[in-house]
Assembly symmetry: C2
Homo-oligomer: 717 residues x 2
């Protein structure tokens, strides 16, 4: 057992020093630690000082606050739904324009080479706008934004994640990245947009002091906004809530569940309203459109399956897990390379966007042309043809299974998923496999590029293609006249559905929310069991190899994220071996000079209070803001916001002693120095703490545990 | 601020005494306290003594344990699905027999009076079997069982709740209570059955030492079983998980979510398999049957609604909230009366079952006969006719809207819901309203009767009837030739669906799980938004009047249940005002005589350890079982299981001192005596504790907080 630390080992006003690094520490490790140290975290614990409790709101004020919160949630839902509708509508219009322009060029008789170049120019221009928004306006708008939102909900203070400029870059950028034909989806960015809207509304409420617990309430509103984002991305209100629960699941209560559900329903309703309006149905008709993003299975397909097909669904799940793990594994070196050689923003990153778009857009035109042994103009004329076909949901005019498969190359991703789910015509296996492989690698290359890009659609499409391939193979084997066993086999579209679920489950390692999203997006509950089995299988298979793509990106960004604890992790190590002993403490009565110095010389969010320098007994925590209020109330110093203090009558008060007792939260959680790391991790994460003082059995403060200490010792590698 | 208690105020080996009761204490209060004191709770915290950590399993053992747990979960799913299939099948067969017998009697020309008597006799006989199982075999099998499961998951140790005889009484009893025609459902009992199966499997694993954390793992398996129960009751795997999450939501992790999802999918699959087999489809066809308990909306009904209908859906939600609150309010005095005058089991309770069944079965035959102005034989011939009609899903042969409405009286409840959801023919409003009212009161009378009886189906049916009423009214107004505004209005079946959701939401106050269950049970996602709005509205309206029916029953049973905290509850009261000061403490070195005495004279689950009688510093917790192991290891006393000790060589060791240090969990959570009740409640509930020692800033033990102390001070009244 570790010997308890005596009070002498705690240094007051100790010079800024890093703890000695172990001898194996590399340059990257030093850099990583410095980075980790720069990220602040958020305290979700109650702060219960006498002063704080004294100003607790009246009952009337509390009712006003509760009403305001629900109104804010409704507004978040409407706003997120409107943004999502705008993104939906904009993508359709821009994609139509892109194909319209190409068709015009074909009509004017341009040569193949010129057409390929024109296509490349159009795509890179579109992607260029998205790239410019990311690289020069808000680098945090890149990617899906889900890892960032996840970190914010976990308690990491990343202010830029929820700023208006990020919303602008994200929501506008995704219009262009998707309509440029890049293999990426609009869903992640919609989720991030919803979360930002949630954070903005929370800031607005804070302005009018309408939040009871600002940090907790802001977290709840961000989660509700995220749920609304998923909801409007897929027309899946329940799926949205579950996604927020599963991915941002650090802190939940029945109240938060209700709020997220309400927010995501309002958002789905708003989307329904607008999509009904854009369509021929007219504004006011709800329920029929917008909800079934991936088309319903009830119109044409079979609605039952046989028990002997279950092993195949498991097989699809295993395949999905392998595909997902491969995707994640390939994405790691790519992301590291990007971090080292491209950077988070600027010209280099912009140049990468242009290059990648040029290559991808050319490949997707060129490959079908070569394989079909025809000229580019034919392909391009077909493109729009295909697009129209899909919109009309009739596929008779396509000539054969090769054309069907090659048509996928130029179809917008979301429509391609619909085709794979529902098209009764067969796809040529070789070309379908080729499409799946090409799309997989292109999607992997795109994820992490400097444009807003969601992972859901590319992952679902890859999985759908592979599932469809397997389904068509099965059907061919089973229905083969005399040779086959003559068994009933579900339509290949069902395998595509299961495959899509498995593939996304393998990449993102989400389960129940994914199953519900797919059920809601296809309006179909009959296949929920195969979907659930496939998702559980693919997660289990994927977890054997690596972590989910979001966790990988959080890890690569070197953020001190607190994962859900596994039961047997670090169960023997004592907390005293991970705590920081270099603590800045405060006495209940302190001189103004010392306090000013303390505020000025570091950015700690709170300071442990000890009774005297001899016994060093822990008396509670004093938060930075409470300390500022105390100084303001007792001395009248105006601004303690920054590190540099600007006292109006500075010299006058420096020797004055002030009484801090009533500003101290006297019962802040602490932990015994004989506790294991597991126990302190549990307490820290569950209660959403920012710092956890460690005391010995006599009440003496031994050190303090922060998020960084725990994140370093409790990662699952 | 409260003055810290000195060590003198803590009494060692203090005579058993109740704390002084406040002067206002009534007889009931004394009784309630005595009852609360008799319920033990479960400790879900890690126990981390040196001895415990030393025997931590090897990696191989841990893998075996993990695999065993997943296998157990699959078995729970299969078993729950099989039990549910058996219940389903049994109810259909018994109901057919009941109607067959009555038809035979009609054919033999019995008079109306004799037929009414015969019907009464058959129904009471069936209900009598159910009643006998409850009153004489297992009183805990009464009702839905959901409050009991909820308490078990919350950490209340109610051993009988999860015993095999309860399963037997519940699963067999529900067959007879439902087929007796009582207004009750099979869903609650299925959920309880699933939970018991979960607990039994957990016991089996514990026998072979295959559970890493027995108490935690048992809780997880019970939750998974409950999810499987909902899943097989409604064919709603996701709804099952959400129900377990929403109702038993005290402790959750991603791992538990996955396990519950797997268990409920396996269970739904099993149900699918058997129901497909019982049906003409034959074994092996899945997905088409059993899942859609309440029939699909895709076959015949409209799949869209208009925006101006939203206020009506809200209206249905408000109505549902009022209906639910009324139901709960009426059920309270009835339950209290039952507790005082009927008791939990025995002949009196059995007699009540017979009486209530006789009245209800007569009313449901007699009323249609009187209202139709026809004779009883007609009604009874019709009964079976109606049953057949519903099974064939064609309603043309019924003559008019009055017949349709009166037919509901004699239709089994679950089928009646289907009819109200989907029947295109109109129901006569007056008779429909009468049916709703009668059914409502009968259901309220039945809930709490001494038979296994679920609340879901009666509540859904009442709401469906009211919703249908409103829907038909709206349609009549809107489609009235010249007079009406000529607006499109959704089919009355949609209003019935929304009404069903609102009514159950108003009684049980569940939201997201209910919405998902209805979506899964009707195979329809189009109306999820109206359902969600109605459910949220009805919960909000109901919460203005009283609590959910399950919480009411927990409260009436006087169980120390820890509800989810509301944010501003008891925020200023200090923990020192609720803690118990009468603590039985242990020193690190103790005499065998003292320890034997300690074990013998009370049933505490753990004892705080203090360093010495002078300083009284808290050193950790010593659990009862660890103390028994310590005695066994060091002295060789064989049995310390009961309160009475049987030492093999008793006198020999009594003066011996033994060293307890390595059996103590040194870092058990404790809380400062300056903490608020809110803070200690948060820590206690979130960490699943059984006792929380209170210490002052010098580490001196001041008292201990148990579940009972907190439950008394933190109820929401």
């Amino acid at each position: 057992m570790n010997t308890p630390h005596t009070s002498q080992s705690l240094l007051l006003d100790h010079a800024e020093s890093l703890q000695p690094l172990p001898s194996t520490t590399s340059v990257e490790e030093v850099e990583r630690r410095a980075h980790v140290a720069s990220v602040e975290s958020i305290d979700f614990d109650f702060y219960e000082s006498e002063q704080g409790l004294a100003v607790t709101a009246t009952k009337r004020k509390r009712i006003v606050q509760a009403v305001a919160k629900w109104i804010a949630i409704a507004i978040i839902g409407v706003a997120t739904g409107s943004v999502a509708s705008g993104i939906d509508y904009g993508i359709v219009r821009l994609t139509e324009m892109r194909f319209g322009l190409m068709r015009t060029l074909v009509r004017h008789g341009l040569s193949s080479t010129l057409l390929v170049l024109a296509n490349m120019a159009i795509c890179t221009s579109l992607a260029g706008i998205a790239g410019a928004l990311v690289c020069f306006v808000s680098p945090l708008a890149a990617g899906s934004g889900i890892p960032e939102v996840k970190c914010r909900l976990n308690g990491l203070d990343l202010p830029l994640v929820v700023k208006p400029q990020t919303l602008l870059a994200k929501a506008c950028g995704v219009l262009f990245s998707v309509s440029a034909g890049l293999p990426c989806g609009k869903e992640g960015p919609m989720i991030h947009s919803g979360s930002i809207i949630g954070a903005l509304l929370s800031k607005a409420l804070q302005l009018y002091e309408l939040l009871l617990f600002p940090d907790r309430d802001e977290r709840d509103l961000i989660a509700a906004g995220g749920a609304a984002g998923v909801s409007s991305a897929f027309g899946a209100p329940v799926g949205g809530v579950l996604f927020a629960l599963e991915e941002g699941a650090s802190f939940w209560s029945p109240q938060v569940l209700l709020q997220a559900l309400f927010c995501s329903s309002v958002s789905a309703l708003t989307l329904n309203f607008f999509l009904g309006g854009f369509d021929s149905l007219g504004f006011g008709t709800l329920g029929a459109l917008g909800v079934l993003t991936f088309g319903s299975y009830f119109q044409s397909d079979a609605t039952s399956y046989r028990i002997w097909e279950l092993p195949f669904f498991f097989g699809v799940g295993i395949l999905g897990g392998l595909v997902g793990a491969t995707f994640n594994a390939l994405n790691v070196p790519l992301t590291i390379w990007r971090q080292w050689c491209v950077g988070a923003g600027g010209t280099r990153r912009f140049f990468e966007v242009m290059t990648v778009t040029a290559v991808i857009s050319t490949a997707f035109v060129f490959l079908p042309a070569v394989m079909r042994q025809c000229v580019v103009p034919d392909v391009i004329s077909d493109q729009h043809g295909d697009l129209k076909l899909i919109c009309d949901a009739s596929s008779e005019s396509r000539q054969n299974s090769i054309e069907s498969a090659l048509g996928l190359f130029m179809t917008p991703s979301e429509d391609a998923i619909k085709v794979l789910f529902h098209d009764p015509a067969a796809f040529h296996p070789l070309y379908l496999a080729l499409f799946a492989a090409l799309y997989f690698f292109m999607a992997c290359w795109t994820y992490g590029l400097g444009v807003p890009s969601g992972l859901f659609v590319p992952s679902l499409l890859t999985g759908a293609a592979l599932g469809r391939l397997l389904g068509e193979g099965l059907q061919a084997v089973c229905s083969r006249g005399q040779g086959g066993p003559g068994l009933h086999v579900s339509s290949p579209g069902v395998y595509a559905l299961v495959g899509a679920a498995a593939s996304l489950g393998g990449m993102a390692r989400i389960t129940i929310s994914l199953a519900v999203i797919l059920v809601e997006a296809t309006g179909n509950t009959q296949f929920s069991i195969p979907i659930i089995f496939a998702v559980l299988t693919s997660k289990a298979v994927g977890d054997c190899f690596n972590r989910g793509i979001y966790d990988i990106h959080i890890h690569l960004k070197k953020l001190p994220f607190l994962e859900a604890p596994t039961e047997v992790e670090c169960h023997k190590q004592l907390v005293s071996s991970v705590m920081t002993q270099d603590v800045r403490t405060v006495f209940p009565v302190e001189s103004v000079a010392r306090l000013k110095d303390l505020l000025g010389r570091n950015s700690h969010g709170a300071f442990p209070v000890v009774d005297s320098s001899s016994s060093f007994r822990f008396q509670g925590m004093l938060s930075r803001s409470a300390l500022q209020s105390a100084l303001q109330a007792q001395v009248g110093l105006e601004s303690f916001q920054g590190r540099v203090l600007q006292g109006s009558n500075d010299g006058m008060h420096c020797d004055q002693m002030i009484e801090l007792k009533s500003w101290i939260s006297p019962a802040a959680f602490s932990i015994s120095n004989t506790a294991t790391v597991r126990r302190s991790f549990d307490l820290f994460r569950t209660m959403g703490l920012r710092h956890l003082p460690v005391v010995d059995s006599t009440g003496t403060l031994c050190g303090i545990v922060t998020r960084k200490d725990l994140a370093e010792h409790c990662t699952h590698d």
